[in-house]
Amino acid sequence: MDLTYTEEEEEFRARLRQWLGQVLPGLGPKPDPNDWPGRRTYDMGWQRRLYEAGYAGLHWPVDAGGKGATPTQHLIFLEETERAGAPYVGANFVGLLHAGPTIAAEGTPEQKRKWLPPILSGDEVWCQGFSEPDAGSDLAALRTKAVRDGDEYVITGSKIWTSHAEVADWCELLVRTDPISDTVPKHRGISWLAMPMDAPGVTIRPLRTLAGSTEFAEMFLDEVRVPVANRVGAENDGWRVTMVTLSFERGTAFVGEVVACRRTLIALATEARKNGRWDDPSLRRKLALLSAEFAALWRLTQWNVSESEATGGVPGIGGSVFKLRYSHARQELYDTAAEVLGAGALDLDHEWVLDRLSSLSYTIAAGTSQIQQNIIAERILGLPKGR
């Protein structure tokens, strides 16, 4: 068990820090959260800088145009960029972390040549079309239909929870190419397609969240035509192809967020000292327990990353354990922030209040806590399937 970083890793960190110190002051101001084109420009501009500095696709395999960095280097990258206050991956999230790695793992050489470079260079934005109104936790029940017509698929259906749909060039889309039946279980019969967002028949409707923002959109597909050549993986094999994507994160999915939460915890203590609520030992105790929790979540991240490094990049199943505890801890963090703020917790102009609202999705998005517990119980503990 070694928690000290190697000389090579420390060098990597030092170079990165130096570069961040040079480049960040020159960045323009953050765009307004509701200015989607502005956000695209900002986020992809940052990706361009990473690209030019040699940090783009750090964790991607070399033959996909990436740097083939170790999970630990990726951890350091995410930790340092968050610490330095660098822009978040933002509009490039799906391209860099989901669609790209999927194509890198399952695409043909031609598909890789076509789609991967513009992701790394910050030229093309991807969005995700997986969930549907009736297929949430039960994603495999998706019903958006793709019917083969010559060398095209004709697609009809609707998708939900799509981020950056308004500004995306491509959508990684899951469609049903073989209807569910007695012989076709729902996990079969799904295909993975790259859909151009400007294809006729694609309609986007912003979806307002309880935080008042439009982080997500609904997407309606009315006889949208997508070339068969845009399919990654075999027909009806899209579920497996997708799972490669979903489990590609090698323990690094929440690195930046844990760093940010620990910073918030310190800010809470500072604010509490300022407004006098620090005098309440119950509050001090809550903050201390959260501090222990987030410190342990950081250690668990290091553990998971090291494990995936040891297994050659194959992610472990520890991610569900992390996600379950982290989601809950993050919600508690912002409930505690509300205690620190007192009546101020009702003031939307305080960033913690907006963060508190956002945190409400944590036990739901990317697999509800109920689903995570099923995964832990069935896949890690080997308890029998059931309800």
């Binding site: 009546a343 009702l346 003031d347 939307l348 609202l357 999705s361």
Partner: protein, 298 residues
């Protein structure tokens, strides 16, 4: 002892529920929310008058003073319904001002009240009960609850009237009962994995805990209304705050992603529950009060 609603109380309760179903149903609620985009902090004065006509504000005034002559238990039932329906406005302040501020009783005058560091519905109100608010002493706050405009006071005012706590607890109770119903209804309808999600124990047990939380709070709130005792009110407020906030959270969890949308009503319940939790006396003070009582009795 007969700790059950009387027939009259049941009739009052269902009468109020019907009035609100007719005058402030879900469409009206959402329209009110939508209206806040262009005209935040606007109160439906006509509805306010109708509430006045229905005796909502004059409920506890003696009949010879033009009131309905009923008591706290009946008031609690009405405020529970208001909480269920997410009825907006400084309802409690106006109710408490009936017989004190002219026009409050019949709903022709809207009265609000300073409460700690905040004041609700300051601009839409005609009068402020409690400590006076000096010109310019109240600064608008971007309220987390779209239907509760807030101002922050430079000089926090203390609201010591336990009835603010009791009636707030009644509203929290109504909200908790409503979010429990919403969760159960959604769990019956929403299908995943080939079955209603309400057939899965994880969802089932969330709903069961919601009901238990609500019913325990109900017993506490109703009893506090009957006794009017400060300790009973303190306990009722603690349990009802917890019930309203936690049930809204669990309701959101049962609704999954849909619960995270603006279109679902869940967030309106959660945000209002947060607002109500800040009313009257802080949780820390309430628990100290109850702790002190344990020592005095012992």
């Amino acid at each position: 002892m007969h700790f059950q609603l009387t027939d009259d109380q049941r009739a009052l309760q269902s009468g109020m529920r019907e009035l609100l179903a007719g005058r402030f149903d879900r469409d009206a609620l959402r329209a009110a929310v939508d209206a806040t985009v262009d005209a935040p902090g606007t109160l439906d004065r006509r509805l306010w008058r109708e509430l006045g006509d229905a005796g909502f504000f004059a409920l506890r005034l003696p009949e010879d003073e033009g009131g309905v002559g009923l008591g706290l238990p009946e008031a609690v039932l009405l405020f529970e319904e208001a909480g269920r329906a997410l009825l907006p406005g400084p309802l409690i302040a106006t109710h408490l001002a009936a017989g004190v501020v002219k026009g409050a009783a019949d709903g022709s005058v809207v009265v609000t009240q300073s409460d700690g560091a905040l004041i609700e519905w300051y601009e839409a109100s005609d009068a402020v009960a409690g400590e006076a608010v000096a010109e310019g002493a109240a600064v608008p706050v971007r309220s987390v609850d779209p239907l509760t405009p807030l101002h922050r006071l430079h000089e926090p005012a203390t609201t010591s009237d336990p009835l603010v706590g009791l009636l707030t607890a009644a509203e929290q109770l109504g909200s908790a009962a409503r979010t429990t119903e919403m969760a159960v209804q959604y769990a019956r309808e929403r299908q995943q994995f080939g079955a209603p999600i309400g057939s899965f124990q994880a969802v089932k047990h969330l709903c069961a805990q919601m009901l238990a939380r609500t019913e325990l709070a109900r017993a506490a709130v109703y009893a506090a209304a009957v006794t009017g005792d400060l300790a009973d009110i303190a306990g009722a407020k603690l349990l009802a705050d917890e019930a309203a906030v936690r049930c809204a959270r669990d309701c959101l969890q049962v609704h999954g992603g849909m619960g995270f949308t603006w279109e679902a009503d869940v967030h309106l319940h959660l945000k209002r529950a947060w607002v109500r939790k800040e009313r009257w006396v802080s949780e820390a003070t309430l628990t100290e009060l109850l702790a002190e009582l344990l020592v005095e009795v012992g």
